[in-house]
């Protein structure tokens, strides 16, 4: 075995195991022919192998990506609406409320655009959802940009906060564009996701209330929540193990552990979302929705069978 072949074989570890077994020898043969006379892989060929591995792995993780997109979109899209309701239902003193009431139409429009994007995606209107979300992201970017210009360097927003605040809507936009381009369908059951929208608006209003006016939750609720999460996680793991979905277990394990941990934090520390290190971060909320959506997806597939859009792409 030449040094070039050995190096290419190492590079092919980027591919999934079955793909590597089915195609490894063939690919190595082509790659060593293309790079004949070299001892190291050429950058262009190595880059193309990396992209191939990403494409193959991405195609196999489609369901997870769709669920992640939906969870992020619902968590992000309901945040401003929940916050707006909270503003007018206790977050501000009546005297201070008069100051913000004048800009209610603008606040309402800004809150409804991301909400409409989430609903559009759930209903399958991918282009409309992408357009609305792009408008929302643009508005968000303009507001942050204006704030940065207004306060000037050194005294304004924390750059880390800016990156983190923009990362979620940017990731959502990338996933929406992928959905548009690759023809992804929204997850089932749609009714559940549609019902989750008002629930999430109410939840965002609720986390605004936590920690204010002495509102707290009981330890009993925390313990019930933790026990419920552990039992649900164990049930999912057993079901997956029985059906030999090893890759799903690999994803479900960390996702379940993180969502269980976050749920426990939410229940034990009622103001977790609000006083999180980067306050108002929709990611913990989205992780909880992801765990719920994954469970609902598995149940729907079991009860109603697999539809075309659920089928993972297999290559080779």
């Amino acid at each position: 075995m030449t040094a070039l072949e050995r190096r290419y074989r190492r590079l092919l570890w980027l591919l999934p195991v079955d793909e590597r077994r089915a195609r490894g020898d063939e690919l190595v043969g082509v790659l060593t022919d293309v790079d004949a006379g070299r001892s190291w892989p050429s950058p262009g060929e190595a880059w193309a192998v990396l992209l191939l591995a990403l494409r193959v792995r991405g195609a196999r993780s489609r369901t997870l990506l769709i669920l992640t997109l939906t969870a992020l979109l619902v968590a992000f899209g309901t945040q401003l609406a929940g916050g707006l309701i909270d503003t007018y239902t206790g977050a501000m003193l009546p005297a201070d409320l008069a100051m913000v009431r004048a800009r209610l139409p603008i606040d309402l429009a800004v809150a409804l655009v991301p909400l409409a994007a989430a609903v559009a995606w759930i209903l399958g209107a991918v282009r409309i959802a992408t357009g609305l979300h792009a408008v929302s992201l643009l508005t968000f970017g303009i507001v942050i940009g204006y704030e940065l210009l207004r306060t000037g360097p050194g005294s304004g927003l924390d750059p880390l906060w800016v990156v983190q605040a923009l990362s979620v809507p940017v990731v959502i936009l990338v996933l929406l564009l992928a959905a548009w381009r690759l023809g992804w369908a929204p997850p089932r059951p749609r009714v559940m996701w549609l019902l989750l929208v008002p629930v999430c608006v109410a939840a965002w209003k609720g986390v605004g209330v936590w920690g204010r006016h002495g509102v707290t939750h009981s330890q009993l609720g925390s313990r019930i929540g933790i026990a419920g999460t552990v039992l649900a996680g164990a049930a999912i793991a057993v079901w997956l193990a029985r059906h030999h979905h090893r890759s799903a277990i690999a994803w479900a394990g960390p996702a379940g552990a993180v969502s269980g941990y976050l749920l426990a934090l939410v229940l034990q520390l009622p103001n977790w979302f609000w006083f999180a290190p980067h306050g108002g971060d929709p990611v913990p909320f989205a992780l909880t929705l992801l765990a719920l959506g994954a469970l609902a997806h598995l149940l729907a597939r079991r009860l109603f069978g697999e539809r075309d859009g659920d089928r993972e792409v297999r290559t080779g």
């Binding site: 690919l27 293309v34 191939l52 381009r181 290559t315």
Partner: protein, 126 residues
């Protein structure tokens, strides 16, 4: 369209198959006989006078998509100089897609040539 497309994808899309230039060239290289991966790369390069040089990873990504669309299929395997060669062949559906695309491109090229001839400084009528 948010993503850039070529004449190939736009032209073929209405026919039910979305072919990129890359896919068109791969199908063309397979039109006369089955070929293995390395032969496809060299053939595409020769067909385009070196303008298009497929990377191996890119080629296999495209072959996956074309196989998924039923336009190509694995033909046979051989071992040459200790290397596994898998040959790919054009299917009937692939040949039909290639024919449709070729006819449209010829028609489009004809239109372009006729219109260019109308430009005064190229010798056409005013």
């Amino acid at each position: 369209m948010l993503f850039p497309t070529t004449i190939f994808s736009d032209a073929i899309y209405s026919g039910g198959v979305d072919l990129s230039e890359q896919a068109f060239l791969i199908l063309s290289a397979l039109a006369d006989r089955p070929r293995h991966g390395y032969a496809l790369i060299t053939e595409v390069s020769a067909m385009t006078d070196g303008r298009v040089r497929l990377r191996a990873g890119t080629l296999y990504g495209a072959l996956d998509r074309l196989a998924g669309q039923g336009l190509v299929a694995p033909d046979r395997e051989e071992v040459e100089n200790g290397r596994l060669r898998r040959y790919y062949a054009l299917t009937d559906a692939g040949a039909e897609a290639l024919r449709t695309q070729s006819e449209r491109m010829v028609a489009a090229a004809q239109q372009a040539t006729e219109r260019l001839a109308l430009r005064p400084h190229l010798g056409g009528a005013a």
